[in-house]
Symmetry: C2
Subunit: 227 residues, 2 copies
Amino acid sequence: MVPPSPSTSDDKSPRRARARAILEAAEAILVEEGYEALSARAVAERAGVNKALVFYYWGSTAELFERVLERYYARHKDALREAFGQDGSLEERLHRGLDGYLDFMEANQAYARLVQQQVSTGGPHLALVQRHLGELLGATSELLAALTPQGGPLSAKHFHLSLSAAVINYFTYAPVLGEEHWGRDPMSAEALAERRAHLHWMVDAWLRALDATLPQGTRPAPTGGQR
Amino acid sequence: MVPPSPSTSDDKSPRRARARAILEAAEAILVEEGYEALSARAVAERAGVNKALVFYYWGSTAELFERVLERYYARHKDALREAFGQDGSLEERLHRGLDGYLDFMEANQAYARLVQQQVSTGGPHLALVQRHLGELLGATSELLAALTPQGGPLSAKHFHLSLSAAVINYFTYAPVLGEEHWGRDPMSAEALAERRAHLHWMVDAWLRALDATLPQGTRPAPTGGQR
DNA sequence: ACGCGCTTTGACCGATCGGTTAATACCCTG
DNA sequence: CAGGGTATTAACCGATCGGTCAAAGCGCGT
């Protein structure tokens, strides 16, 4: 027996190939059938491999799932970094960041479901999700610091939560509403473009309202409530 | 053996008492431990009752869950109806509706988790959730018809989705972020009040931006995109 | 006291789960 | 060819799940 060592990423090639095949099978199942369909047996069958190999290479199904989820988070952060990193005014970068976010979500529709599912079930992988959610919140809060007060109802974290909610929940709720309630297939290119326009409009509305609400150009730091 | 008939609500009292006790036990488990902890055995144990009685009175655990969920939906709709039904300008009623929504969510924090969990897992009760989500969407869309265009990115359904996302996801995501990432206990009275203020501010920002975007007082009906 | 119908019980079923293990196949090196 | 580490396999384990069932308890009218 050998130390499973699924973490080190540069092993001998045949070993890594098998391990990767199993990981890919797991991701495919998550994408197509969701979290509850992810069983060691299902993964093994999909990868064309004996069930025991799943444990041999990955130790447990939980580990396997977390690796898939971490790949998603890594890709997500890359996408945001790239979209945000361009030059331009903060407003422009904000809109570009939103576009990058949406591009990523459109391309990885399972991601929203998986995260939201862990969050809403208090699943066994909450700690991992919590860590990444915290990182994302911290990063955007830093970027918005120039626009919003540091505390109170107009602080960056509220906008982060509201915007990401409006993004994520489209991908989780709209498909459930479906064509009959939403009016058309929510995942069609036209519907996605319409949603994108809505979110950009919303961001603009926020920016304008922030300008109107906060007196001078830079942020004051009110702690008290609004309204 | 007798027809289980869990639906009829006015039976003999001893029978209903037992059935209710089981239902309450199920709800308690859902509130305290979540959906995956809802097993026939757990319910029976909690209700102090033989496991077979769960099936005798409710037919299946699925039925039991749906009854609990439907009670939540009924209460939710009552709360919204009452909050919206007051007189006043549409804007005032909108803010009151938001307050009613938030009051309800604060008082029933399990509700958001249960719904979101069904949505994000594609759970076995999606059909029920879909029906109620559709009803809620239809109702608010009707109310907003006077303020928003009938189609496109500023149509009522987009605002419904964005607002409910911003409300619901606070109750599902903020607790996961926790005190360490959110800055203080997100479910404390002060944090809840701050979130409430944020959402009211957001609605106001939307209303002002809608006024600025749409030329005359009443709605035009553009179909095309924005931005 | 009897019987009848509703209620309650514990034992049981088959399926599925994650995970283990001991035996075997494979392959490369000496 | 021999040996040793790696990879792979089938069989097995205990736990849990939803659900069923036949028997037993029980209350009540006759």
